[in-house]
Amino acid sequence: MSDVALVINGRSVTAETGMTILEAARSAGVDIPTLCHHEKITPFGACRLCTVEITKEGQRGRSRLVASCVYPAEEGLEVQTESDTVVKGRKLILEMLLARSPGVRELREYGRRYGADPGKFSLEPSFCILCGLCVNYCAEVKGKHAMGFMGRGVERQVMFLPEVASEECAKCGDCFTLCPTGIWPSNYGLARVPHWG
């Protein structure tokens, strides 16, 4: 497999063809924050926290913002993972998510790192941050589809499908530890009651 050479934060980095910017950065020891990314799952590109600023050769230095978890590492790419624009955007995203789920450890840690003000937006807790790890892991890794997204926009939520979940989830529970909010086991408890009752 041929390699591609790119520059991340001023450092020359070699990546394998087919790698994403995120993978290239992580293999070079550059940390990019993520919420919806998991090695075993097809990149979902939903949380957008991993957004970085890139400049392509031949584009007169014009930069673009792309989600590093899905954007392929390309030859000659110049990547800034912590530029001012990137930091500003991450801060705002974290502030909005903290208004949804103020207790999530990852959000609080990233929040400190990017100087997010947890009180910027009024609290409207939904607990779930809709990272989709549980849904995608269950579908892609376990092949069970025991849960899915329901609703659109702010109404969007993750639901167990009781018919599947009642059969499969008791013996698995893998997603319980994946969930960054830690509330998933209790949701499962709620889901099994009506089906068995």
Partner: protein, 641 residues
């Protein structure tokens, strides 16, 4: 039913159809598009059928039920031939008179004609000012065609462009022609269609798809709907030409389920095209195998986004996916897929037929051809209009649209739907094309054009669009889901009179992030309604926030209804009509609105006789002390009673 196995077959068949036509035979056409349908054109049609049966001339009178003509404000539109007289706003009650006078005796009924000022009524449809300034190359055929009958399309030259493309041009030549025509996508982005076609053609793989995007969802826009309903074969012809150029053997039409007439007419068109050999294993005997499937969308605005639309066709949830590899290369089931909007496809036969040179002679430097707009809102002549690119907004709004009703002042035009923005009066002489609209902070979008008069609140307008987007965002990515919801919260509180210093800056801060960080174009363009209203009407935001005043008297929380005791004549009208009993007073007693009970529905203002003019809306000024209960009205001396 003929089976057309070659270009010669098509020509012969068209010749037969033409020969069978009799120009002197009485005919009527009835507009049966969505607008006229809503005005019960079906009843007008039935009335004609019954009346002709009873009192019609000897020999049949052909009735053609056509698609939308565009002048929806004045439907139902009926044209009587061979006299070529067009009647507007025809009701079933008018039918007997039309049959007796115009069809039987050739007399014109003046009261049903278009009246331009005090002059004589206008006889012919194309002479009506609304139509006179248009260039209806794509849309104009609608009024001559029965969309449910392929013959009426063929007889008007339909499928001639396809025949030319298949038998006289190689796929490369067709592609070259489209590129030279500089055709840009009519769905919103204005991406060069030729370049997109080329990408799909060049992408590796034997299986390729062409798709019609008929998921038109902008509030106030219905041109794609009317094209698909009124002339489905035109769209289909463009699609087959595209398939020939790109090398696709399967096409899809993604159409909203909420467009039942479009779905029906399209399905009939596909069926007839298959019977005629225009779709199938060998299109017109050329050897091109091509067929089309209709995918009915379940009503999601976001499904108009290309990757979401393709997910939906695959049978998955219609949500956008990251597409750093373009759908033109990897689309439906990972195959190269070329997606264009209805109007773009419908323009293709024109380019092949008339040539790229002709097409590029219309329009501006970088936007060629014509564009169909749905001209709606506070404008006299609402409807669908097709104009050359580069016509100014003023011409569209005033010459075609007939200006603003009730002599109100023009305030802005909203273009591009929820992804677009407002264009204020100072840009009225802006030539309308893709680039100029973008420069003014809006966008072409699919062609919605909503005219707003002085009674429109710009903060409320932004709130309306964000409300729409909050419902229609799929919710997958954080910036769009949370960002729109936070922006909407701020806009709602400004409209409710709870705006704070710093809110405008907060809106700008969130906008910047949502624009740059969202997964798809829905999110990336969502801040436009907010940013463009702030850019052009910042003072209105400031009035709401600082003075708690809505300059257009729209935002209910900031507006109150007040009865001027000096002007009130105690006529009891508002008092009787108030739904919540908020108005006190009585015979000869001044009427007073109880502000605590009032729901601000505005009925009192509507019913107060204009000669009294006693009810006023107040915003941002202190409410005058109400007169004591039981105050007698002072009858006016010297005022006309």
């Amino acid at each position: 039913m003929p089976r057309l196995n070659s270009d010669a077959d098509l020509d012969t068949y068209r010749g037969e159809l033409l020969a069978a036509q009799d120009a002197d035979k009485p005919r009527i056409t009835i507009c049966s598009g969505t607008g006229c349908h809503a005005l019960r054109s079906d009843k007008v049609h039935q009335a004609f059928v019954d009346e002709l049966e009873r009192n019609g001339p000897d020999g049949r009178v052909d009735i053609l039920r056509t698609g939308c003509h565009g002048f929806c404000e004045r439907g139902t539109i009926v044209t009587v031939l061979p006299q070529d007289v067009t009647y507007l706003q025809v009701k079933p009650d008018d039918v007997a008179e039309i049959v007796a006078k115009t069809i039987l005796r050739g007399e014109v009924i003046d009261r049903l004609l278009y009246q331009d000022g005090d002059g004589p009524g206008i006889l012919r449809e194309e002479e009506i000012p609304f139509y006179k300034h248009q260039s209806p190359f794509v849309f104009g055929l609608n009024r001559f065609i029965d969309p449910k009958n392929i013959d009426s399309y063929i007889v008007r030259g339909g499928y001639a462009a396809l025949s030319k493309a298949l038998f006289q041009m190689s796929p490369e030549q067709v592609l070259e022609e489209v590129k030279e025509a500089k055709l840009r996508g009519r769905g919103g982005g204005g991406f060069p269609a030729g370049a997109k076609w080329q990408t799909t053609r060049d992408a590796p793989g034997d299986i390729k798809y062409v798709v019609v995007n008929a998921d038109e969802g902008d509030p106030g826009a219905y041109m794609d709907r009317s094209l698909l309903e009124g002339n489905p074969h035109r769209v289909l012809e463009g699609l087959i030409i595209g398939a020939h150029a790109i090398g696709a053997r399967q096409g899809f039409v993604y159409v909203r389920q909420e467009y039942p007439m479009a779905v029906e007419n399209l399905s009939i068109a596909l069926e007839q095209a298959r019977e005629y050999g225009i779709l199938g294993p060998s299109v017109l005997g050329s050897g091109l195998a091509f067929d089309v499937r209709v995918h009915r969308g379940a009503g999601a605005f976001v499904s108009g986004e290309s990757s979401a639309l393709m997910c939906a066709i695959e049978g998955r949830v219609g949500e956008p996916r990251p597409k750093y590899v373009r759908t033109a290369v990897s689309g439906i089931w990972g195959r190269p897929t070329n997606l264009n909007n209805v109007e773009t496809w419908a323009t293709v036969p024109l380019i092949i037929d008339m040539g790229a040179d002709w097409f590029t002679s219309i329009g501006t430097e970088n936007s060629k051809g014509t564009k169909i707009f749905s001209l709606v809102g506070n404008v006299n002549n609402t409807g669908l209009v097709e104009v050359p690119m580069g016509m100014t907004l003023r011409q569209v709004v005033y010459d075609i649209g007939g200006g603003i009703p009730r002599d109100r002042k023009f305030k802005a035009v909203q273009t591009g739907g929820p992804s677009g923005g407002v264009i204020p009066e100072k840009f009225l002489d802006l030539p309308v094309d893709f680039d100029e609209l973008a420069k003014a902070g809006s966008m072409m979008g699919s062609g919605g054009m909503i005219v707003m008069d002085e009674d429109t609140c710009m903060v409320d307008t932004a709130r309306y669009y964000l409300d729409f987007l909050a419902e229609e965002s799929c919710g997958k990515c954080t910036p769009c889901r949370e960002g729109i919801s936070q922006m909407l919260k701020v806009l709602r509180r400004i409209c409710a009179g709870d705006g704070r210093e710093g809110d405008i800056e907060l809106l700008e801060e969130i906008s910047e992030m949502v624009e740059g960080w969202s997964l798809c174009a829905l999110g990336a363009t969502a801040p436009n309604p907010v940013l463009s209203t702030i850019a052009h009407f910042r003072d209105e935001y400031e009035a709401h926030i600082r003075e708690k005043r809505c300059p257009a008297d729209v935002c209910k929380a900031l507006t109150s209804y007040y009865i001027d005791p000096e002007k009130c004549e105690a006529c009891m009208l508002c008092l009787k009509n108030c739904a919540v009993g908020a108005i006190t007073g009585g015979k000869n007693l001044v009427h007073v609105v109880d502000q605590a009970t009032c729901t601000k529905c505005g009925t009192c203002l509507d019913v107060c006789p204009s000669r009294f003019d006693a009810v006023v809306k107040l915003s941002g000024v202190p409410m005058p002390e109400p007169v004591p209960a039981g105050t007698q009205v002072t009858r006016k001396r010297g005022r006309a009673q």
